[in-house]
Amino acid sequence: MIRYHNHKFRTIQGIQQGFEGCGYVCSHQIATTLYLASHLEKPILVEGPAGVGKTELGKTASLYLGVPLIRLQCYEGLDESKALYEWKYGKQLLYTQILKDKLNEVLKGAEGLASSMTRLHQYDDIFFSPHFLEPRPLLKALQQEGGAVLLLDEVDKSDQEFEAFLLEILSDYQVSVPEIGTISATSKPFVFLTSNNTREMSEALKRRCLHLFIPFPDPKLERKIVRVRVPGISEKLEAQLVAFIQEVRQLDLKKAPSVSETVDWAKTLMLLHASALNPDLIRDTLNTFLKFEEDIDIVQERLYTMAEKAVREF
């Protein structure tokens, strides 16, 4: 039971470059955590504001490693029959019906109730064998031959009981099915858990994971991200745009623009063939990165000074 692709995680710089090749610019902190996670064989709990690329990190990891991405979107009420495994009840019922006729053959020659029972006992548990097991994402991730990236998205939305199911899989990479026994991973998957911090995760869960907090990127990193995600953007526009977004984040908004929204905005401006920012252009495209009426009002009030500041610097 080894984790494959370890060679792709040999150095921190290598990871940074590799991820960038897949279109994800990661900070040194992220690369270090990935490096540790692969060598210590630990899951990563990723936290941070919405839209800084938490989910994207998992996706890119699967792309970089060339292994399938198995994603489980968590929600309130998610339970083990949807996340871990389920018995194929229909198949079981169907088989009992079909096998009813076979029962006479099996019991042929047996005398009395006791000996019939003994004979039946030889066939016990056939209906609770791996053939009738329906693997759900968590189990599926363990069964992937060549390894997998398991992404548990928004794990904070799930119930507290659900965390308990996760504990076994996170620490030992195995699942216990009462009727069958323990199923261990054929090769350990790379596990990401993302959380928007709507509630505090339990201590037990945190203990089993490495913790990564992704904040909003600094201007330098954000410019790099824009450059990678929106190829062909002019350097001037990219610098002004990032400066403006960084400025907007300083304001007291309902929802600060995220990185993905910066990228969206950059793409929008590219479509409009803009080569530099100006207040009118910003006003027309504000709604690509501000999603609340109140926020738009706040920014519009200061639009001229902010735009001027962003434009003057570059």
Partner: protein, 449 residues
């Protein structure tokens, strides 16, 4: 090197980062992987394995920077090497030799070794600083150095006099460095201990003695408490809401249908939600405590869904609506001054308060309701209206009286507690946060409400 990490973890624990044993082991593994070579990588690796929330990350950053700050002794420019003409010889003590040769690295090492020997990590109070400075200097061999100085200054030659002067200067400089070092260690290790101690201390302190400046800290403690209780409570509620197929019962029930699963049976638990009514005294006699009682009430309002709150002094009014949408400070001020609420802050009149409650709230008291009364039962010799209290007691599931006075004072003077007590399911003294916590625990425990 492991010692270094363990001490860092001690400092981290002290400043409030929770670190378990398994996390310690992860950190050691991680450090083995990345090594001590690069500061940034080390910081990131330790941060990923030890600090598990945004808040802890912040604590970690400050702690890490403080812990691995350069100590002043190994800085070249700060400690000028002594004049070269003063040579040391073999009869000098080790410490003197090191000082004379300007072996700053050696001195720094010796200082840290001495610090370990005297267990500087145990420092708790600022009053211990000079003690530790002295102990470290002694462990470094101050005695030998003093001996050298004394011997040399008694010496007749100009050379020995000069050497004694140089040594004396070096000794003072060393003491200065050690003092800085101890100062730094103090901020690192004592901060934590003090924090812990403050919390323990506040928990056991009488609520009426608490001062305004402790208020913020107190609020955090209460919030922590309520949050914990709420975690337990909300989990119970959710579990009971969900229905799962009860296989055993289904099979048993359907035996009559020839084993066909005709009528599925569901697992479910009864929803048993606490329904709480709180009556809080805000009169002058309990003024100091009332602030904290109200604070508690506020926190409870955030945690428990169904709660009605009343405050009383000369009369009683319902204030449940005040809690929604206001900040805690504002609510407390409004409640205490009774701004716009119609509460008269004259003489405390429990009889009137109970009568008002009978009119306004008694029909809402059912067999699931827990009624909590916060007050000292000092009725200014008025009519106690024990009958109404008895009525409330009979209709409610439970009547809890929390009295800030110790039970030996109950029934003395104008206190009606002795009479009221007979009609309470539970009457407790409640003057510290620990008391409060015990009561809430009891309240939210299964079957407790």
């Amino acid at each position: 090197m492991e010692e270094v990490l363990h001490n860092l973890m001690r400092a981290l624990r002290g400043s409030g980062v929770r670190i378990s044993v398994s996390e310690t082991m992860d950190a050691l593994e991680a450090v083995k992987l990345v090594g001590y070579g690069k500061r940034q990588v080390l910081r990131e690796a330790l941060g990923a394995t030890l600090a598990k929330s945004q808040y802890e990350k912040k604590l970690f950053e400050t702690c890490f920077n403080r812990y691995f700050s350069r100590d002043s002794l190994s800085d070249e420019e700060e400690a000028p090497s002594p004049p070269p003409e003063v040579e040391y010889d073999s009869e000098d003590a080790d410490l003197s030799q090191m000082l004379l040769s300007g072996d700053n690295a050696g001195l720094s090492m010796a200082m840290r070794a001495a610090a370990r020997q005297v267990e500087i990590t145990g420092i708790w109070f600022f009053t211990q600083k000079s003690l530790y400075v002295h102990r470290i200097l002694e462990a470094m061999g101050l005695e030998g150095l003093e001996g050298d100085i004394k011997r040399l200054s008694q010496g007749m030659t100009a050379h020995s006099q000069e050497k004694a002067g140089v040594l004396r200067e070096a000794r003072d400089r060393l003491a200065e460095h050690v003092r800085d070092f101890v100062e730094q260690q103090y901020t690192l290790f004592a901060g934590a201990a003090t924090e812990e101690m403050m919390e323990k201390y506040l928990r056991n302190m009488r609520l009426s003695n608490l001062e305004e400046r402790d208020f913020h800290r107190m609020r955090l403690i209460i919030q922590k408490m309520v949050k914990r209780l709420n975690d337990i409570y909300s989990r119970r509620k959710k579990r009971s809401r969900r229905g799962l197929l009860d296989v055993k019962r289904t099979i048993r029930q359907n035996l009559t249908y020839d084993g066909l699963l005709f009528e599925p049976q569901w697992k479910c638990k009864k929803v048993d939600r606490p329904d709480i009514m709180v009556l809080c005294d805000v009169s002058r006699s309990v003024q100091a405590v009332a602030r904290f009682m109200l604070l508690f009430l506020y926190s409870l309002n955030e945690a428990v869904a169904r709660i009605s709150s009343f405050i009383f002094c000369s009369n009683l009014v319902e204030v449940s609506h005040v809690f929604d949408g206001y900040e805690v400070e504002e609510v407390l001020v409004r409640l205490q001054r009774g701004i716009g609420l119609g509460v008269q802050l004259g003489r405390t009149d429990y009889g009137q308060a109970f009568q008002d409650f009978k009119e306004q709230g008694l029909d809402r008291v059912g067999n699931k309701t827990t009624v909590i009364i916060l007050g000292d039962a000092r009725n200014n010799y008025g009519d106690p209206e024990t009958g109404i209290l008895r009525l409330i007691y009979e209709r409610s599931r439970r009547l809890i009286w929390l009295n800030p006075e110790p039970s030996s004072f109950w029934g003395t003077g104008d206190s009606e507690m002795a009479a009221y007590r007979a009609h309470c399911s539970l009457a407790r003294e409640c003057s510290t946060v620990n008391h409060l916590e015990r009561v809430v625990d009891f309240l939210l425990k299964t079957g407790g409400y």
